[in-house]
């Protein structure tokens, strides 16, 4: 139990980077961008090919993010300059990326990364000296937890990365350019009348969004130890699920709060899926169905709850009034 939860939190944090990207396009830019399914794999593929060819994993990961950035740019150009509707722009780009990703992967639908150097294991010897693994595992072992995780570095590294990404996004969205970006999704006509080039802002915004998605893909590949051409299918739903669950559970009053909520949503999503898969009648093939159901629940439940609350409030008012009338007569 602990072991599978540990894995869920680890990958939940990495997927949170992707969810933040989806948050930028869907919520900030109000642009339902389906490029995600493709750009996630683009990131994974670029990083994997770099690593297999002996490039430093750090550089490979950065190149992956840049590749995702360009993919998002193209979706933005299709929409703004080609005047193609947002959904279709994303679908076209996602479809094109499928072939491009296969090209990047040298025609193979799968690249294994076992025994390769990755961002997570390249610092192993340094990490080993710190003795954190022994300390934490010793503590857990004394409580009778088993089996124990083989290393804690992935968890620590992903926490550092996600905090960094979150703070960067929070800051960016308060800069002059960031404000204009938010206004582009909020009231495009208005920000254009304030001399902002909304076309460029959309192109940049979608670039950043897909850059994050590709970064997430690159890290997932290195954590899983392989890239699969089809691993991006349904990614957009996972991203949306994380955003919607996070917003519903943790609120969305301010940007700072919402980005935190989205990260929380991504982790909770992973945990729920992991728990669901433990049920005997479900197997990994049911993942997408579970995702879809989760999104539906997260969308419907808050409205349902608030209607219920409202009804109860009105009921109470009515009883109070009735009692008053009775008391007066």
């Amino acid at each position: 139990m602990f072991f599978s939860m540990f894995g869920a939190v680890e990958s939940g944090i990495i997927f949170a980077i992707m969810a933040l990207g989806v948050y930028l396009s869907f919520r900030i830019l109000d642009f339902p961008d389906l490029t995600v399914d493709g750009s996630f794999v683009t990131g994974a593929a670029v990083a994997a090919v770099c690593i297999v060819n002996g490039v430093s994993p750090v550089i490979g990961t950065l190149l992956a993010a840049i590749a995702g950035f360009f993919a998002g740019n193209i979706t933005g150009i299709l929409n703004t300059k080609g005047k193609i509707n947002p959904l279709l722009s994303g679908i076209l780009m996602m479809t094109a990326l499928y072939s491009i990703n296969l090209r990047i992967m040298g025609g193979q639908p799968n690249i294994p990364l076992l025994n390769e150097s990755t961002v997570f294991n390249m610092f192993d010897s340094f990490w080993g000296q710190l003795g954190i693994d022994e300390a934490l595992n010793g503590l857990l072992g004394s409580w009778g937890v088993a089996p124990l995780p083989s290393t804690w570095i992935v968890l620590f590294a992903t926490i550092v990365i996600i905090i960094f990404v979150k703070l960067l996004i929070d800051y960016f969205l308060t800069t002059e350019i960031g404000l204009a970006l938010r206004a582009t999704g909020d009231n495009e006509k208005m920000i254009r009348s304030l001399s902002a080039n909304t076309d460029s802002l959309k192109i940049i915004g979608l670039g950043i969004s897909n850059g994050l998605v590709a970064l997430s893909g690159a890290l997932i590949a290195q954590n899983d130890g392989f890239v699969d051409l089809k691993s991006g299918i349904g990614m957009i739903v996972i991203g949306l699920a994380s955003v919607i669950i996070g917003e519903a559970l943790f609120g969305k009053k301010t940007i700072v709060r919402t980005t935190l909520a989205v990260i929380g949503g991504a982790i909770i999503y992973r945990i729920v899926v992991t728990l669901a898969l433990r049920a005997d009648f479900l197997d990994t093939g049911d993942m997408k169905l579970i995702s879809a159901i989760l999104v539906v629940v997260a969308l419907v439940a808050p409205k349902f709850i608030s209607t219920m609350k409202d009804q109860r409030r009105r009921q109470r008012k009515r009883t109070e009034l009735n009692n008053k009338v009775k008391g007066a007569s």
Partner: protein, 264 residues
């Protein structure tokens, strides 16, 4: 300051729906001119504003601002020196962003937007000072989302955002029409104050004849895509609603009735 030459705009040309929205418009505004624009529905007033702001390209003719030909300059570039307030109070502000963030976006209008904080301590002070002049208490609500403000408050904020960077030209298109009478009066007064304070070259469209007479130093009347009346200076001051209606009848040879809706 503003120079329009031979502007024509036709919508749906060569179809049964063909509409000559503007026909050979020539108009020159000097610095500090405050021109009120009246005319019946469909006269072409909004189209004229859109041609100046760049959201509508003229079929023929040229637009010059400060002796610079801007006919082909895209809308967002032109808006560096043109401030606008729309009829719809929802149109001029970003509802899910705060008052100070909205002001910060307006503040960046005539500069290049950078990766520096939009709202700084210093700017907050500045925004507070500007908001004080509105007398609506908004200076104490810098962190409130604009979507929570009333229509009148939003329109006052839009007006401030359109003007405090002192644009070369201010365009107001029926910016009080969606408000109740008392709010409309408030915004009308604010408009007069702000235009005077910053000495802005202004075009204001209105259906309220009294407002058109009270404000500004010059009045133009449009009909069927043409400017049919242009009165300024002392003659404008002596103008009354009766005289205007009479003028219209003399020029057009027809009665201007309430159905034509020139009266607000």
């Amino acid at each position: 300051m503003l120079n329009l030459k031979d502007i024509s705009v036709t919508f749906n040309e060569d179809t049964p729906d063909e509409k000559k929205a503007l026909q050979d418009i020539d108009l020159t505004l000097g610095e500090g001119d405050f021109v009120t624009v009246i005319g019946s529905n469909g006269a072409g007033k909004s189209t004229l504003m859109n041609v100046i702001s760049g959201s509508q390209r003229p079929d023929i003719g040229s637009v010059e601002i400060n002796q610079k030909n801007v006919t082909l300059l895209p809308e967002f570039k032109r808006s560096m020196f043109i401030g606008r307030v729309f009829q719809d109070p929802m149109a001029g502000t970003a509802p899910s962003m705060t008052i100070e963030e909205n002001l910060a976006m307006a503040y960046a209008r005539n500069k290049k937007r950078k990766l520096q904080k939009g709202v700084t301590k210093k700017r907050k002070e500045l925004f507070r000072d500007y908001l004080l002049t509105l007398n609506l208490g908004l200076e104490d609500r810098l962190n409130a989302k604009v979507g929570l403000l009333s229509g009148g408050e939003r329109q006052a904020l839009s007006l401030l955002m359109a003007t405090f960077t002192e644009p070369d030209i201010l365009l107001l298109d029926e910016h009080t029409a969606a408000l109740d009478p008392s709010r409309a009066e408030l915004i009308t007064n604010l408009t007069g104050d702000i235009v005077k304070r910053f000495n802005l070259t202004t075009l204001m469209v209105t259906h309220n004849m009294q407002q058109a007479l009270d404000l500004g130093n010059r009045l133009i009347m449009m009909d069927k895509g043409q400017i049919i009346l242009d009165i300024d200076g002392k003659k404008k001051q002596e103008l009354t609603i009766e005289k205007l209606l009479h003028e219209f009848k003399r020029i057009r040879g027809e009665q201007l009735d309430d159905d034509r809706a020139i009266l607000g």
